[in-house]
Amino acid sequence: MMPFRMDGVLTRPDLVARLTAPVAERLVVTPLTDPERQIGSNTIDLKLGTELLVPRHGRTAYLDLHQRTEAIAASLEAAHERIPLQIGDEFILHEHQFVMATTLEYVGMPQNLAGYVMGRSSWERAGLHVRPARVAPGYRGCIQLQLVSHKDLPITLVTGARICQLMLFPVSNPVSSETPNPVRARPYFSPILDDEELVQLQQSRRGFILGVVGTLASGRSLLAEHLARVHGFVHLSLSTQLYAEARQRGRRPTLAAMQELGNALRHANGSSVLADRLRGDIQELQRVSNLVITGIKNVAEVEALKRWSNFRLIAVDAPVERRYGWYLDANRLTEPDLSPAAFAEFDRRDRGVGEPPWGQQVDACMRLADRTYTRDGAISELYQKLDAYLDELRGMLL
């Protein structure tokens, strides 16, 4: 089971040397209260920490880990209870019960060391099993412990008792991490929440998501309506949130107002905020339907959506003079006095000219498209091309 070479395991002299090295390269185990007893021939004994995560029976039917990230987190929280303890306090682990804990000691692994934590044989024989767990190079925090009683007798756990041991071995090719590791000082839930392939697995059984991006009045909304009306897609728009925001602020949803609001939101919360906020809806809806998404303005939004493996981006464009006419036809009531020059200015802004990184970037988005169409005349020609693309996609997915 142990994937390392036995002659690579650090022995006591090496352990002591690592523990007393300069702070930048040190193996950190703090506080070591009894080094004579804790540092063995090739392991370091660690104590049980002061917080337990105990499953709460009877409150949750089952843990569904194949759902939205937020829902998984909520399920896990509801299903467990955090119990704070003092040093020397006891906790009775009942037969075959599972609890999560941490070591009392805080461990800091240098990049050139890895380790395994496992139970001490004395406790194992008494009935406490500490599931072996990998401690990665660069780990910072109290080591997460999964404790199980594997006998038919309850056993008393005592905080501060040496219940596990850490075995360390050098890493053959240390890789330094660019992002700082999070500090894990308390028991926390499984990082299954970060497994994106679960989401992708879920999606692979479903349909697909089409994003439609394009220049102003090129026919994006018409394409989306066609997909909804004829092909039964559900239409989601990143702009819906902007309309709601405008309503809340008492502003008319003019072109200028929408551009401004969108930029403000992206600036305050990150450029992909509108796409991120739709994530939950996308995950729910695509269980039952294909989706079409419009209102995409920024490259970050495209990248966020492309994380869905069944996402495809369609771009549509047309000459600006023709688009001006189409725009007036559609918006004569809300913007009756829009001049060609003003429309051209909005169009430039929409495409990304003079915009900050969190602003409109339709040109850049269009460059990321899987398929680009140019609308010359009637919209029906575009519909036919879109239908053909859908056939192509369906064939690929089959």
């Binding site: 002591v16 523990l19 007393t20 702070v23 930048a24 950190v28 703090t30 506080p31 070591l32 209260t33 009894d34 080094p35 540092i39 002061t50 955090r82 704070p84 303890l85 003092q86 040093i87 020397g88 009392l104 000691e105 805080y106 800091g108 910072r140 109290c142 501060g160 700082p180 590791n181 999070p182 500090v183 000082a185 600036h267 305050a268 919360n269 990150g270």
Partner: protein
């Protein structure tokens, strides 16, 4: 002469009070069955149950065997109100079971307070409404008990603590350990209660003389006479109406300044930094009915930091490398606060009323400080006590290691450190690395927030581990939690 006949309202009063006592007794027994992380809630429960039992017995004795006279009405009401207060106090027991309490901080704080005042116990609970507060329960409990049992003044129960401090904190700040250094101020109130400093200040001749001027002026400036009840006129009543608010404000301000001065002795510069971070503290530097102006409080704390030797500690010219940069950053923060204090001192206070009261304290600061210094012993957070630790601890923070002990070169076991050193190391690191700068956009805000969360996690862990180390290595180093 009132005949001894039955009176329905008195009967109802007695009946309601008896049932309240019985219900309260049951609910206190249920509370006893819950799990608590320390013994203090059980101590409080003992006292509350004792009061309830006494009240119940007296009520039953009053009603037994004879009809109740109408004259018993107020006695019954008093006993009923005693039960009402017990009901309110039992809420503190319930709050001890709140999951939001940062127990990693509570145990070391109890250890710390127990070292300062061995007869103290404490309860800490999250309170959304009031923020950081302090209350003293044993005084209240003894008053009720003595009154119910008709005991003489000054009698204490053997085996029970003399003081039971209750501290509340805003739950949103639970993970913000550095901000929780604001507890230093509340601990200061507790020390004031134990050592009776405010009362001494208020009796000191110099202070009375200063305050006397304000009170006399208030009497002279009294507007048209306040009408006494029933249209009667009492000159003393009028004077009282004008003097009482001023006396209350003076008493309140003395208590707050004494607590501020104590807080610096407890946590050093960390107390001042935590105070200055509270948005209302700097933004509203004007005096209020309950608190002196912020600039006066900052000035008092800065004076005390100087007295404790922090000017010398933070003299960047005496240091090199990282330490010099750190000293410069922290020193600059203190200098900025000193400017706030200086600005406030020259700006006129709001209105003539507060101006004259503020004037009393501008001169009285030194006297208050000397009273505090008179009771502080060797536990004060003098600069030299943390000087040897704080910079080493900051280096640990820079390497993402909890600052729970001071590294000794070549040694496996570090040197134990103190709660004050750990908290100050956190603050020094935060100021040195500008982690409290205003972010330029949402992305930077989230990055800073993550860094601050990590810092707080490390500092909280360090506090827990430092206390654990003491418990595991020193004889009798644990929290004495036995009754």
């Amino acid at each position: 002469m009132a005949p001894a006949t039955a009176h329905l309202d008195v009967d109802y009063l007695a009946s309601a009070a008896i049932h309240q006592a019985l219900t309260l007794g049951d609910s206190l027994r249920e509370l006893r069955a819950r799990e608590y992380a320390t013994q203090t809630p059980l101590i409080l429960l003992d006292l509350l149950e004792g009061i309830v039992d006494d009240v119940r017995d007296q009520l039953l004795e009053l009603t037994a065997g004879r009809p109740l006279e109408a004259a018993r009405r107020m006695e019954l009401r008093g006993l009923g109100q005693a039960l009402d207060q017990v009901t309110e106090l039992s809420e503190y027991v319930v709050r001890c079971a709140d999951a939001d309490v940062p127990w990693g901080l509570v145990y070391p704080l109890e250890l710390f307070c127990r070292q300062l005042t061995p007869e103290s116990r404490m309860i800490i609970y999250p309170a959304w409404r009031h923020g950081y507060t302090y209350g003293e329960l044993m005084g209240t409990l003894y008053r009720i008990m003595r009154s119910v049992r008709e005991l003489p003044e000054g009698e204490f129960l053997p085996g029970y603590p003399r003081f039971l401090a209750v501290f509340s904190f805003p739950p949103i700040q639970g993970p913000n350990i550095l901000q929780n250094a604001a507890w230093g101020h509340e601990i200061g109130h507790h020390l004031d209660t134990v050592f009776n400093v405010s009362a001494e200040v208020l009796k000191a001749p110099a202070f009375v003389q200063r305050a006397g001027g304000v009170l006399t002026a208030a009497q002279v400036e009294a507007p048209r006479a306040a009408r006494a009840p029933q249209g009667q006129f009492d000159p003393n009543y009028e004077r009282v109406s004008h003097l009482t608010p001023i006396v209350k404000i003076l008493g309140g301000w003395v208590a707050e300044l004494v607590a501020d001065i104590f807080s610096v002795h407890v946590f050093g510069p960390a107390s001042l930094f935590a105070f200055s971070e509270i948005p209302s503290a700097l933004a509203w530097s004007e005096p209020s009915w309950s608190h002196p102006p912020s600039w006066l409080r900052i000035a008092a704390m800065l004076d005390e930091l100087r007295y404790l030797g922090y000017d010398a500690l933070l003299d960047a010219a005496q240091s090199t490398g990282h330490r010099a940069a750190m000293c410069a950053a922290v020193g600059e923060r203190l200098a900025t606060l000193a400017q706030v204090a200086a600005r406030g001192a020259v700006e006129p206070a709001t209105g003539r009323f507060f101006a004259s009261i503020t004037g009393v304290f501008a001169g009285a600061r030194g006297e208050m400080a000397s009273h505090v210094r008179g009771v502080v012993r060797d536990w004060a957070c003098r600069a030299e006590r943390i000087a040897g630790d704080v910079f080493e601890l900051v280096e640990r923070l820079d390497n993402v290691i909890p600052p729970c002990e001071v590294d000794l070169p070549g040694e496996l076991v570090g040197r134990a450190t103190t709660l004050a050193a750990i908290v100050n190391a956190g603050w020094f690191y935060r100021i040195w690395r500008s982690l409290d700068r205003a972010p330029r956009d949402g992305t930077e805000a989230r990055e800073l927030h993550a860094e601050l969360a990590r810092l707080n996690e490390l500092v909280l862990k360090a506090i827990e581990l430092s206390a654990a180390k003491r418990q595991l290595t020193e004889v009798g180093g644990g929290v004495d939690d036995a009754l």
